[in-house]
Amino acid sequence: MLITQLKSKESIESLAVGKVVIINCHGCKEVYFPEHQADELQKELSDNKEVIQIITTDYICNPDNLKLQLKKHMDKINLADTILVFSCGVGIQTVAAQFEDKKVYSCCDTYQLPGFQGVTPLNVDCGQCGECYLNGTGGICPITACSKSLINGQCGGAKNGMCEVDKDMECGWERIYRKLEKLNKLDNMKYDAPKVRNFGNSKPE
């Protein structure tokens, strides 16, 4: 089972830049989603920011389903500067992969609980680390897309763009760098302070 917890109101507000489309995922029974809190927060956000559409759907982790569900909202999505996603880490990565040129941000941190985990049949994975990094990495997860789960950039082990651990796997940090380059967000790589992972964070408060 996964638990998603909303990021702080301040951090979510800071992400809501320009025209905003919000996507909520209520699909998975194995994921606890803080529906009521999300609803309240999105109402407040709509008062202060330019929220042009709130979409509530299910199973956005499935790219085909996601495409289908968003079809009728595409006119709004095309106008959006920012897409805020309220889902587990897999959902956010799927949305980010679908909209290569948009800024897709995560509004939740995903924690793990022992036992059955949601059915995530895809090539993206959520490490349930409890401190979602996707907002700084162009929607590509450094915890699961990097063999060493590095959070401060590429190690010296990539060769021709492939990982030293698995030659069939692209270097996660090269993917992140190229995506940020495309989004004109390479400033994200210029850290003010080194990130230090908090392994004490992998359980919900």
Binding site: S147, K148, S149, L150, I151, N152, G153, Q154, C155, G156, G157, A158, K159, N160, G161, E164, V165, C171, W173, E174, Y177, L186, M189, K190, Y191, D192, A193, P194, K195, V196, R197, F199
Partner: protein, 298 residues
Amino acid sequence: MRITELFQRDEFVLTAEVGPPKGVELDHLIKDAHEYLKTRVHALNVTDNQSSVMRTGSLATCKVLKDEGLLPIFQITCRDRNRIALQSDVLSAALLGIENLLLLTGDYTTLGDHPQAKPVFDLDSVSLIHAVKRLEEGFDLAGNAVDGAPPKFAKGAVVSPCSDSVDVQLAKMEAKVKAGCEYFQTQGVYEPEKFIKFMEQAKQFGVPVQLGLIIPKNVGMCRYMNANVAGVHVPDDMIEELKADKEKTKAGDTGVEICARLIRECKDYCQGVHIMSLGWENRIPEILDMAGIAPIAK
């Protein structure tokens, strides 16, 4: 002595890499260090279970070399230790008078001789540099005060100038500088033009860089590195050069000549040279002689 003092005095800083054996017989390593390296390089890097192959520890070997009157650089990787063990080993280094560090993320466990081992990577090179800097400021990573006078190190790291994604490497280099890195050693370079171009971009960080060299022993080794070693590319004409003179190549002379040539071509663009001889420590004096680099005044 910290090797940052040498950089500050504008010395062209020379270092070589030695690897502890799998076992505790260090006689050979010590003999070679005295015979070939003592008067030719300023400091010796001691590898930390290089290529994820289990060996005698870097810190203990550093202490032995220090007692022999040599200047060791303690290489530390994040592969095998969490932040508690890493910080503890850094303090232990200070206790033993080891003042030079090279801080690395480390190769993955499956590349070595214990592929069953748990890979740690609790910290990475950037956060390890940050942790050492915090210790120098008198605090550990959790914010607890360190008793007594804090340690002081020369904090080094690595970068790959000939990586196929050099822009991604430069971004990481900048993060290391911001975290407190004071000098860099590079991955093996065989393409001077790429290195010079890299240095043009890297000089903005204002941190000294040592050209990294791996002695190309033979054609097979070069082909292996091209296929398997990240950040290393031996160009075809260099492989042809090694191939052309079979007699010489066998003796390793062509590889030695190539290294000397690389130093001559690159030395105006960097602040030192770091030689990874992989057991050919005895060839280092020749390389430096041929490159016109005199023995160091001790």
